[in-house]
């Protein structure tokens, strides 16, 4: 930007006048709101300016575009997204199909090892459940994320999938995640399609894939 940035630590009038647009749109808060309201009570120039800004806001809102039907542009956009999807999918795993099996087997072995150790260390106490308690069954998936994926992105994918991480990352960069069995298939497909995910395999032997 070529313009100078004005500093607004000047007089109360200057500061209040600069803030008037946000008094008009109702977003001014706390000290700024108090400052402007107090100043307005005694400044005729700012009262006139406020009236003009309210007219300006009303005119802006009235200056509407004609309504349109969103379905045609949405259809066009869907076609564009479909084309982009085909072009942009990371292809590293596809070019090395054996890698998926290696990672899945590695993750399965590590998970079994972990489960065995946990079983060994667990005290022999019976588990009790209340009558109302429901057991939510889950399935385990092996997931490999793109190395460039951010922690925030990973967390959001987990949240969107109602998944939690059980184990990982392995040396090959794989994670084992647990998802509700009821929609494991949907989650698996969604993760496979998600950007930043290179591989998703089911750890269950009866997966059918």
């Amino acid at each position: 930007m070529s313009g100078r940035v004005l500093r607004f630590e000047g007089s109360v009038h200057t500061e209040a006048e600069r803030l008037l647009p946000w008094l008009v749109n109702g977003t001014l808060q706390n000290e700024e709101l108090a400052l402007v309201q107090q100043h307005l009570a005694e400044c005729t120039a700012c009262q006139q300016e406020l009236a003009w800004l309210r007219s300006l806001q009303a005119a802006c809102i009235e200056e509407a575009l004609p309504a349109d039907n969103p379905e045609d542009p949405l259809r066009r956009l869907r076609r564009r997204l479909d084309n982009a999807k085909v072009e942009a999918r990371p292809d590293r795993i596809r070019r090395r199909p054996w890698l998926g099996w290696v990672i899945t087997v590695e993750a399965a072995l590590l998970l079994m090892l972990g489960a065995a150790l946990l079983h060994e260390n667990r005290p022999a106490v019976a588990e009790y459940h209340t009558l109302g308690a429901t057991q939510v069954s889950s399935e385990k998936l092996v997931v490999v994320f793109d190395p460039g994926i951010s922690e925030a992105q990973l967390r959001q994918l987990m949240r969107a999938s109602e998944a939690h991480i059980v184990y990982g990352p392995t040396d090959a960069g794989a994670w084992v995640i647990s998802v509700p069995a009821a929609h494991a298939k949907t989650v698996r497909e969604a993760l496979r399609a998600a950007p930043g995910v290179l591989l998703v395999e089911n750890l269950a032997a009866d997966d059918g894939d």
Binding site: T27, A59, C60, E62, Q153, A190, A194
Partner: protein, 197 residues
């Protein structure tokens, strides 16, 4: 789910904001139905915002599509710190600036230093209908950045701090742009009125 009232005002609280964020997370998992819902909810406001900035009908759809493409591909990067709408309008602003620069440099940066310092007197107080009639012409005389600040404040109802987030600039810069936009609008409206007489 809201996602905004007819004037597109930015106030969105609690559950509605959470619902909008949940929708975005579904889009991160490539849920096309969620994307369609978001598109339908945001299209009127985005279209109006972009049209207000670029003032070139032929570019509006292109920028809107580019914006929603970025929303689809980058939904996972929206952290919950900012409002979803702020995140989306920030994308739209960047896409509009890129498009204007791509198209023969029609991006008009702020011309703050060249605005006359003489404030028009109180005689420019136009009646509401007169303001309404000449506003479009006067807005066309502002810089792209000034028009964006006007749209984001008066039509979309954003706070100064949120506009700074959308335009990726300091809060003082937003105040400066608004200050010069108001002054220039008054001058342009007065000129337009004189020409009309």
């Amino acid at each position: 789910m809201r996602i905004a009232d007819n004037h597109g005002h930015a106030g969105l609280h609690g559950n509605a904001e959470e619902a909008e964020y949940a929708l975005l997370m579904r889009i991160a998992a490539e849920d096309m139905r969620a994307f369609e819902m978001l598109y339908r909810a945001y299209r009127p406001r985005l279209r109006r915002f972009i049209a207000g900035i670029v003032r070139q009908p032929a570019l509006v759809e292109e920028i809107l599509d580019d914006t929603m493409m970025v929303v689809w591909h980058k939904a996972h990067t929206c952290n919950h710190q900012a409002k979803v709408s702020t995140w989306i309008f920030a994308i739209a602003w960047r896409q509009a600036v890129h498009a204007l620069r791509r198209n023969d440099d029609r991006f008009e940066p702020g011309d703050d230093e060249h605005v006359s310092s003489s404030e028009p007197g109180p005689d420019i107080e136009l009646q509401q209908c007169e303001l309404q009639r000449h506003l479009g012409t006067a807005l066309a005389g502002l810089s792209t950045e000034q028009r964006a600040v006007i749209e984001l404040t008066y039509y979309l109802g954003y706070a100064c701090r949120e506009i700074a987030q959308i335009m990726d600039c300091p809060v003082d810069t937003v105040k400066t742009r608004m200050f010069y936009a108001r002054r220039k609008l008054k001058t342009l409206l007065a000129l337009t009125r004189e020409e009309a007489i």
